[in-house]
């Protein structure tokens, strides 16, 4: 009984700083009482995210609560994105040539690896976006990417990516995997990355966006005005169905992220300079291999466990940390000793960073989506 109260108290104490910070990040501090729909949406999201954080602290589970908000962000992103673009451009998801040449195309993080070389050497962005002023401008997205990479590294892929929740959700539906994937497939995303970088530079066109990106299915895509675009539409729709819905359902793995996403492969490189990683305490590990079997991106192998490390594609989701029966896996600050107080500090600091960013992302997508639903209920229109 005393232990239970002690745990609740501990969780509350840990949640207080987060509640304070998220008060600003979610926008509670700027509430306009005259706009009850916005105020209610903000308060709901504030309460919900703090509840998830509290529960994560109380139960000492990471992945379960992470997945709830991650999936929710993925589901609410299309609502806000599509409707906002309609208000800005006058049409829904179909991007037309006018939008392209007028720079009316919102910039997405997946473009970054495709255009990184021209960006560094020629200070040019190969994307028909706008540097500032636009919803999802190039400038603000690049700054966001730098900020999150400094704090989380490849944790972007499990905590921030507003597309990844689709796969995460689909991979959790079935109780058992019906199909097994070859672990070597994790290298195919690197091949996709190299291919799109080369082709983007060669053709001065964001090749992945134009030809391959499956998430056009939940954001925007080219207006079908020619046979070529019909072909492109078939390709991205097929990739979305296969890699984002069907294969994650069958394999219980995040197939698109693991095998196809060039941003994920690129972020694995960026992760080298991030101070956080997941490590295995060799003194504790009993070699049960639960982590290898359950990792959603196959970032663990017997050899990597022998080295006390994950593979390059670990996205710090925390599932292996939750699963390990002896707490051998843990978040770790690079160069510091493994285990002990350092592991506790690393875990807490990492989770504060992730949840603050999640609170920010939640503000961008979940709050407006709730507002629009309230608007629909009260006025019959989902548009502002």
């Amino acid at each position: 009984m005393f232990t239970k109260y002690k745990n609740v108290l501990r969780a509350m104490v840990l949640t207080v700083p987060f509640a304070f910070l998220s008060y600003f990040v979610t926008g509670v501090v700027y509430l306009d009482r005259s706009d009850w729909k916005h105020s209610l949406s903000v308060l709901l999201v504030y309460a919900f995210i703090n509840f998830l954080f509290f529960m994560s602290m109380l139960t000492r589970k990471i992945d379960h609560y992470r997945a709830i908000i991650f999936i929710l962000i993925a589901l609410t992103f299309p609502i806000e994105f599509v409707l906002k673009l309609y208000e800005l451009r006058g049409h829904f998801m179909a991007l037309n040539f006018s939008d392209v040449i007028n720079g009316n195309t919102p910039f997405c993080h997946i473009v970054i690896p495709q255009t990184i070389i021209p960006l560094i050497f020629k200070k040019q962005i190969i994307f028909p976006g706008t540097m500032d002023g636009l919803y999802y401008s190039v400038g603000s997205m690049i700054t966001l990417w730098v900020a999150v990479s400094l704090l989380l590294g490849k944790g972007w892929c499990s905590w921030v990516c507003f597309y990844g929740g689709w796969e995460d959700g689909c991979s959790r539906i079935a109780k058992k995997a019906r199909l097994k994937l070859n672990p070597k497939l994790i290298w195919s995303s690197v091949a996709v990355l190299l291919l799109v970088i080369i082709l983007t530079i060669e053709f001065a066109t964001p090749i992945y966006c134009v030809w391959l990106c499956p998430f056009k299915a939940c954001s925007e895509f080219f207006e079908i005005a020619s046979p070529l675009i019909v072909f492109q539409t078939i390709i991205f729709s097929a990739i979305f169905l296969a890699l984002v819905i069907i294969l994650p359902f069958l394999t219980k793995k995040r197939v698109q992220c693991m095998t196809f996403c060039p941003f994920g492969a690129f972020q694995s490189l960026v992760d080298k300079v991030n101070p956080f990683e997941v490590r295995i305490d060799q003194k504790k590990c009993i070699n049960c291999k639960k982590c290898i079997q359950q990792c959603p991106v196959m970032a663990l192998s017997e050899k990597s466990i022998e080295r006390g490390r994950t593979l390059f594609n670990c996205n710090k989701c925390g599932k292996c940390i939750d699963l390990c029966p002896v707490n051998a896996l843990q978040y770790h600050i690079k160069l510091t000793p493994i285990g002990g107080m350092g592991a506790t500090i690393a875990r807490q600091v990492f989770l504060y960073f992730t949840y603050i960013i999640v609170a920010g992302m939640g503000s961008s997508f979940i709050i407006p989506a709730i507002e629009r639903i309230l608007l629909l209920i009260t006025t019959g229109s989902i548009l502002h």
Binding site: L88, G90, S98, I101, L151, A204, F276, K334, F353
Partner: protein, 175 residues
């Protein structure tokens, strides 16, 4: 003893690394727009001309608007008509696209009805892009509606914010 000292030094470096990244990362995240301006991303980095048109090589000021002719990019030349307040109902101009002293193109644009009549005046203009006419597409995207105004409002040329604009793209024969 040495191992302990090395371990302590590594820990100091590790935690220092974390603190520096935390300060930078949180600072950037908390002030995204301001940080973007301060870093100067928007001034230092540009969208490739294939999408925006080339650098402006000719600017003519008229009574209440300016006409900008861009450098050829790929195989097109972009021409903009931009006004700080509102464009006139009709714009009629003959344009020398490549500054060789010979007029290349005549346009009569009705900015309110969104129609354009064009006439080739020289061999330099070998074709006018057809795809539901690129000219018409550019035109429609730039006319006086809230969406287009939003973007043109952010379009600066010599630090002037334009309120309304139309653009056309002309396919040019490559030399």
């Amino acid at each position: 003893m040495n191992r302990k000292i090395v371990s302590i030094i590594r820990s100091i470096v590790g935690y220092s690394w974390l603190i520096v990244f935390a300060v930078l990362g949180i600072g950037l995240f908390a002030n995204l727009e301001a940080a973007t301006q301060k870093i100067g991303i928007n001034q230092k980095v540009k969208i490739i001309p294939k999408y925006t048109g080339g650098e402006v090589v000719d600017k003519r000021s008229k009574a209440n608007y300016v006409r900008l002719i861009h450098e050829p990019v790929d195989n097109f030349i972009q021409v903009d008509w931009l006004a700080e307040e509102a464009l006139p109902k009709q714009i009629e101009e003959e344009i020398d696209l490549n500054k060789d002293g010979i007029l290349d193109l005549k346009v009569i644009i009705d900015t309110q009805d969104e129609t354009i009549i064009y006439e080739k005046l020289s061999d330099e203009v070998t074709a006018l892009m057809k795809k539901t006419s690129l000219i018409e597409l550019s035109f429609k995207a730039s006319t006086n509606n809230k969406d287009s105004l939003f973007f043109y409002k952010n379009k600066e040329y010599e630090e002037i914010q334009y309120n309304e604009g139309v653009s056309i793209r002309i396919l040019k024969r490559s030399l």
